[in-house]
């Protein structure tokens, strides 16, 4: 094309056409299809009943036969009984001992391997829920989390080992693990409901499913990362594969596996609150109650209690697994500590102080609530303005545009064509099929409604996260200052975000969007900062040597080199926003979120499955397209 003279009009137009024909076809296709289908109705739900009815029937059948059929009596019921027994045992054991024994044990266990100073924080965290009158609820949640994390580790580590030893197993597991992490949690609730009914047992299993992937992934990674010469050395001494695994590979992978366990605990923490929808009780129920009563102060206090549980579990899990035995105290010290605990138990029973005393019970948090009410009333002009702006200027027009104005075949074409431009034929076939299937089961409109909310929240999140992330990435001081804030935002269970959002913005789509933004900007900022910081110093210097201004260096070198990583961050933002938008169905977000909640609450299996499919479809389309974009932005890898 370089030989074409600039004056030759027609060839130039031709060359332009050859270059941009994809875009031209996109526009032309859009116009033609829109003209043809302008009067088309809503997406015809051809397969609504074909899909829904069998699932309803299966669900009802399971409910009816839970006590009689062999699948339940011989498998699910014993499994469920075993888990219930474990939950009950842990909980009653924790409630049986005098209350002060718990913080004392936490302190001693952590102090044993990490010294007494780091042990103070988890011990205080263990004490805190009692101080606000949530002792029993906290023990309830602690028991559920402990059992869920225990099952996750017991299942996840062997799976991870298997994945590390058999690349093919890892290849088949990866999409399943991806799906478990991309799919918003409420989607699991329905199958759990079908199999285990309502209560703490399905809540435990839903938590396990959600929390399992990190421990599997990081076990695989940890074992893979064990240097090959260490494995060879072990083989050279005639170790069997099992000996090499237990004596070399697993111990050397332990730090990585423990990172996975920490992540698993964090994930479990997020879900355990939501699992209240399945009747889990505990702190989750408490949060739900404060949410419906609009009590910010109380909600915040309960949220902190959940964080406290996470801190306790995380520190304990780290303390139990000791890598450096030389730092452990002597057997004598350990014996003294254990006998001290026994003495504490006896003292508790003799003095009759097993229950957490009511003296410190601060149940009201009135001042906080009043303060929040006052602030809310005085900020109403601002919040209302913002609320109206988002709803009237963005949400309603965009939703109506997608659902009513643009005919559905046009939307399918545009999305399919663009995915082809981004990721090739495979992606195009995938997105098109997913869209058609979603429409065919009658989920077209609620899906687009949810999508609109996701787009709004993602746009806001990226608008905040990118500049802040770039700023933090270039300025270590800013990053250090942001660190604790981001840490806190990341540890708080997602549902807690909704409480202030609802209080300030009343019920509707806006609190959901606000909560999503708060929830999702953290990884956005973190990954952007990381990406900017990781740009090789040599590239920056090279740019400066050529006399580039800081601005030119920023947009000519830093941003392009950081783009693939930033895109991966945006991918995470989108996934987290989607999860939150679904959860915000609890507070008037409507659409798929509300449909999930109501399906779970009313045990409508067929409806629930359709909603779940639609959510999964949106999640996977968004996930794959953003990953494809990230892939395109990546510079070609070096050739072998």
């Amino acid at each position: 094309m370089t030989t074409v003279a600039p004056t030759a009009g027609l060839p130039l137009a031709l060359s332009g056409l050859r270059r941009y024909w994809r875009w031209v076809l996109l526009v032309v296709g859009f116009v033609i299809l829109q003209a043809v289908f302008s009067s088309a109705d809503e997406f015809p739900a051809w397969f609504d009943d074909t899909f829904k009815d069998p699932i309803d029937r299966a669900g009802n059948w399971m409910q009816a036969h839970r006590r009689t059929h062999v699948v339940f009596t011989d498998f699910f019921t014993p499994l469920s009984d075993a888990v219930r027994w474990a939950l009950d045992s842990v909980e009653s054991a924790l409630l049986w001992v005098p209350w002060f024994v718990l913080p004392a044990s936490v302190f001693l266990v952590v102090a044993r391997s990490h010294g007494w100073r780091p042990a103070l924080i988890p011990a205080m965290a263990m004490l805190y829920p009692g101080l606000i009158g949530l002792w029993e609820e906290t023990v309830d949640t602690l028991a559920l989390m402990t059992i869920a994390v225990f099952i996750s580790v017991a299942v996840g580590v062997p799976l991870g080992v298997w994945g590390a030893l058999r690349p093919r197993a890892e290849k088949t597991m990866r999409p399943a693990l991806d799906a478990m992490q991309t799919v918003p949690a409420p989607v699991y609730f329905l199958p759990m409901l079908m199999l285990f009914g309502i209560g703490r047992v399905p809540a435990t299993f839903a938590t396990v499913i959600y929390a399992l992937p990190p421990v599997v992934r990081l076990t695989t990674l940890g074992i893979r990362e064990v240097p090959s010469h260490a494995v060879e050395a072990s083989e050279m001494f005639g170790a069997t594969p099992r000996q090499t695994m237990t004596k070399v590979q697993l111990p050397m992978a332990l730090p990585t596996i423990m990172t996975g366990v920490s992540q698993t605990i964090m994930m479990a923490l997020g879900i355990v609150v939501l699992a209240t929808m399945l009747g889990a009780g505990g702190l989750g129920q408490e949060i739900m109650d404060t949410l419906s009563q609009r009590r910010t102060g109380r909600g915040f206090a309960v949220g902190l209690a959940v964080v406290a549980v996470a801190i306790v579990l995380d520190r304990i899990s780290r303390a139990v697994v000791v890598t450096d035995r030389s730092k452990l105290p002597s057997t004598r010290t350990t014996l003294i500590a254990v006998s001290a605990l026994v003495v504490l138990v006896i003292v508790g029973f003799v003095t009759g102080t097993t229950e957490f005393p009511d003296v410190w019970d601060v149940k009201t948090f009135d001042p906080v609530d009043n303060g929040v009410d006052w602030t809310r009333d005085n900020l109403r002009w601002l919040t209302r303005w913002f609320n109206d702006l988002v709803v009237a200027e963005f949400y309603v027009p965009v939703r109506d545009l997608l659902i009513d104005t643009i005919a559905w075949p046009v939307l399918v074409f545009v999305v399919g064509w663009m995915s082809w431009m981004i990721g090739g034929r495979k992606l195009a076939v995938f997105t098109t099929a997913m869209m058609l299937a979603t429409g065919a089961i009658g989920m077209w409109s609620p899906s687009l409604d949810t999508l609109t909310q996701v787009v709004a929240a993602v746009a806001l999140s990226v608008a905040i996260a990118l500049p802040v992330g770039i700023w933090a990435g270039r300025n270590p001081r800013v990053e250090a200052a942001l660190g604790p804030v981001l840490d806190a935002l990341q540890t708080i269970p997602s549902l807690v975000y909704i409480i202030p959002a609802v209080i300030f913005f009343t019920v509707g789509v806006v609190p959901g969007i606000i909560a999503s933004v708060l929830y999702a900007i953290v990884p956005g900022i973190r990954i952007t900062a990381l990406a900017i910081r990781e740009v090789p110093e040599a590239s920056i210097e090279a740019s400066q040597v050529f006399g580039a201004t800081p601005r030119q260096t920023m947009f000519g070198v830093r941003v392009p080199l950081a783009a693939p990583t930033i895109m991966a961050g945006i991918n995470q933002v989108i996934m987290m926003v989607l999860a939150m938008v679904i959860i915000s169905g609890l507070v008037g977000g409507g659409a798929l979120g509300f449909a999930t909640v109501s399906a779970v609450k009313r045990s409508e299996f067929g409806n629930g499955a359709e909603v779940a499919f639609a959510i999964v479809a949106i999640a996977m389309i968004l996930d794959r397209t953003t990953q494809a974009i990230a892939e395109r932005l990546r510079p070609p890898a070096a050739e072998q």
Binding site: P227, H229, A230, E232, A233, S234, E235, M236, F237, G238, A239, T240, Q243, K247, V248, P251, M252, L254, T323, D324, S326
Partner: protein, 349 residues
């Protein structure tokens, strides 16, 4: 090179032997081996079949108590070769025998038994276990053998003294310096009292001074107990210093096998000559090589017959007389005069 040329000192019984060893990575190993046998270059084979011929028709014999050094540059296949000999990798074709038993024909279990008792390896990057203390690293092989904790700790403690790490047992390897870490690796290999020891570039990750220390340490240990050693290195000086015989490896095959002196005197290929050219003869030649045989009473200073000329220069400079050369038992076997040494130092001799 032909098989006949690579067969070593046949007076001693071979502990370890390899015959026609091939190792090919890739999809069509047999086609690749045929092409290699026809003399087609490795690049050509890789381009047309996608196979990498890492080791190509290598044969060797290592006698009991001998240090056999395989010297080659990176990519020559030396590391792959030692892994084939130890059967950390399965050979594509060929045979490796230990005391006449074919290692390749052994089942996993038989191989494990051989490894537990008869062979051991020291690795380039040490291959230490960071989660175990130094003593537990050294005791690892004994633990795999199934020895009780007390016995293996006792044995490991003795070995730590042997490699000069007495008192460091309760540290973790990463708390030690590089040289000390490799002493741990060496101790771990020695602890099981193996018949054959493999060294895969054990000292190349160390500083030059530490490397020299470790080489001397190995020579000292060899002087105490003669072990059968296969030693891989990319450093020709190291090969000369440690090797009884040296194999120069290039493109997966042995270019030449012989003592340092043989390589120096008759380099078989231009490639071998490239290495030997810059080597000072005084490093390679030993007192025993340049002496005039002489029996009788010792006069003046004496030196050991196996000392290099470099090492005895200071003695030579102190006196104008002839100096005596003695064998390990201390009896005089010859004399050296300065003239003979000076003529060695002249270029082109």
């Amino acid at each position: 090179m032909s098989t006949a040329q690579t067969i070593g000192v046949d007076a001693l019984p071979a502990v370890l032997a390899g015959v026609g060893v091939y190792k090919v990575f890739g999809p069509k190993p047999h086609r690749a081996m045929e092409m290699a046998a026809e003399g087609i270059s490795r690049e050509e084979i890789l381009r047309t079949t996608g196979n990498t011929v890492a080791v190509c028709d290598v044969s060797f014999e290592v006698a009991r108590g001998e240090t056999f050094v395989v010297m080659g540059l990176s990519g020559s296949g030396k590391s792959t070769l030692v892994r084939c000999i130890a059967r950390l990798l399965d050979v594509t074709r060929g045979q490796v025998t230990l005391n006449g038993d074919d290692l390749m024909a052994m089942s996993e279990k038989e191989l494990r038994d051989v490894r537990r008792r008869n062979m051991s390896m020291v690795f380039q990057h040490f291959g230490l276990f960071p989660h175990r203390t130094v003593i537990d690293n050294v005791a690892y092989g004994l633990e795999i053998q199934g020895l009780a904790r007390d016995i293996r700790r006792e044995r490991a403690r003795e070995i730590l003294d042997v490699v000069g790490l007495g008192g460091w047992g309760d540290h973790y390897p990463q708390q030690l310096s590089g040289g000390m870490q490799q002493r741990v690796g060496l101790g771990r290999a020695l602890a099981i009292e193996p018949e054959v020891l493999f060294f895969d570039e054990p000292f190349s990750a160390l500083d030059p001074l530490i490397r020299r220390d470790m080489q001397n340490e190995l020579l000292r240990l060899q002087a105490e107990t003669q072990r059968t050693i296969v030693f891989i290195t990319h450093d020709f000086d190291e090969a000369i210093k440690l090797g009884d015989r040296i194999a120069i490896m290039k493109d997966g095959a042995f270019d030449q096998v012989g003592t340092a002196l043989e390589l120096l005197a008759n380099p078989a290929t231009p490639y071998v000559r490239e290495f030997t050219e810059d080597v000072s003869r005084t490093k390679v030649l030993r007192a025993g090589n340049v002496m005039k045989p002489h029996e009788g009473e010792t006069v003046g200073p004496t030196v050991g017959a196996d000392r290099s000329i470099d090492a005895i220069l200071s003695v030579l400079l102190e006196t104008t007389d002839e100096i005596g050369v003695v064998d390990p038992s201390g009896s005089l076997v010859g004399v050296i005069d300065r003239g003979a040494v000076i003529s060695l130092l002249e270029p082109g001799s």
